[in-house]
Symmetry: C2
Subunit: 232 residues, 2 copies
DNA sequence: GTCTATAGTGCGATAGAC
DNA sequence: GTCTATCGCACTATAGAC
């Protein structure tokens, strides 16, 4: 399904092929949590889910999830405490729904570029896909990044493993260039992950400097390519 | 004072010249907050300050500062609620003391390598100094990174400005190589900051892979040098 | 200088009306 | 399906004994 993309694709090109974006993610979340949500009419349920998650991101991403109260959430969504509890089972489970959605999406991404021949090109594709996904779903990734340590231990472990799988996928590709030891490849893969995280965590910095996501992705790709590309 | 260091110094070499480390930082904190701390005998005050901050890092860095209760803090320090309030004026002010200490130390670092001639060498020095400082004071930087959004707006602004000053110092040096536009230099400086933050935020990952700070610093320096060094 | 005890506040969650 | 009202609890901060 990604065959139509060039190696150095842009955000606009990525948008045409990615299955999840800002607008259809609410259906995705509703379906994955259908059994836990007591509201059966789909239309209002989608509307309220969006209100709840958008307000959660706004509150949690400014003061922190634990500092956000359900009363704050009610004020910002317009729902009452009772109404809110038709959509969530507990405050903690609200965080768990977000973490689950992010993990599902990043797991899907891992398979998208297996057909790309050159390892270096595959690194570029994964790096771009990860950066553009983080642009589209910034509040989701920002939330998981900052709040995952407050999740229950079992869930925190799952989140760490997801990061390590993605990380080692990139490390294996870098090692496949034949220029690096296993440790050096691990470190370079870490640096790639750090680029992406910086994009969605420090967004205020790039916004203030009027730097867009394509420019950022080009810079990150250029830096890592100039180091690992055998042609260089 | 840094003249004795080579450009590619190690953590062990850095330790010999840095003014603040894990053991003398408590005096530094006590002096900067002397007027707000009601305990006058210096010996016990230093001991209890260390207990309070170490426990705060342990609790806040696992569940988050807002989720940490002062009762947790009392249990872990062995102090009572009343005793604790001899050292802090409020829970929020405890976070403010940490943020203040970190900012003071990173401000000092900015002046250490002004005598280094080559801009590329100066970037390496700053990057290494920042990485090694973050190794020595990891809990402090980790706390500020994850909790600064929960600080009062005024203090959050000061923290952002401190990051931008450091960032633009590196960007100016990269631009001075003559190979990059102002935007490209800004982006490369961002990537440098991202390396450092990754080291103290994702420490569990590097620890699990048995990668030490010198190896990490070498990798980050190698990656950025291979891109900006005019000799390359 | 540190303790115990408690005042006062605001929380997450639920019951039951409509 | 959403509301209002309320329960029981845990919190920050302080007062006063030693």
């Amino acid at each position: 399904m990604m065959e139509t993309l060039p190696v150095s694709f842009t955000l606009a090109q990525f948008r045409r092929v990615t299955p999840v974006d800002e607008s259809n993610i609410w259906s995705f979340v509703l379906d994955r949590n259908a059994d836990r949500i007591n509201v059966k009419r789909r239309g209002p349920a989608l509307e309220n889910l969006e209100k709840i998650f958008v307000a959660t991101f706004h509150l949690a991403n400014t003061v922190g999830f634990r500092a956000m109260t359900l009363r704050d959430l009610c004020r910002e969504t317009g729902l009452s405490m009772g109404g809110l509890y038709g959509y969530i089972q507990s405050k903690d489970q609200l965080a768990a729904m977000i973490e689950d959605a992010v993990r599902q999406m990043s797991e899907q991404m891992r398979t998208w570029f297996l057909h790309v021949q050159s390892p270096v090109d595959q690194v570029e594709c994964l790096l771009r896909a990860f950066i553009y996904s983080s642009e589209i779903l910034q509040p989701w990734l920002y939330f998981v990044f900052l709040e995952s340590r407050a999740l229950p231990a079992e869930q925190r472990k799952v989140a760490k493993e997801a990061e390590l799988r993605f990380h080692s996928q990139i490390a294996v590709l870098i090692e496949a260039t034949g220029k690096f030891s296993s440790d050096a490849a691990f470190l370079l893969a870490s640096h790639c992950m750090a680029f992406v995280q910086d994009w969605y965590v420090k967004r205020w910095k790039y916004h203030a400097a009027r730097i867009g996501v394509d420019e950022f992705a080009d810079s990150a790709v250029r830096l890592i390519r100039s180091h690992i590309d055998p042609r260089a």
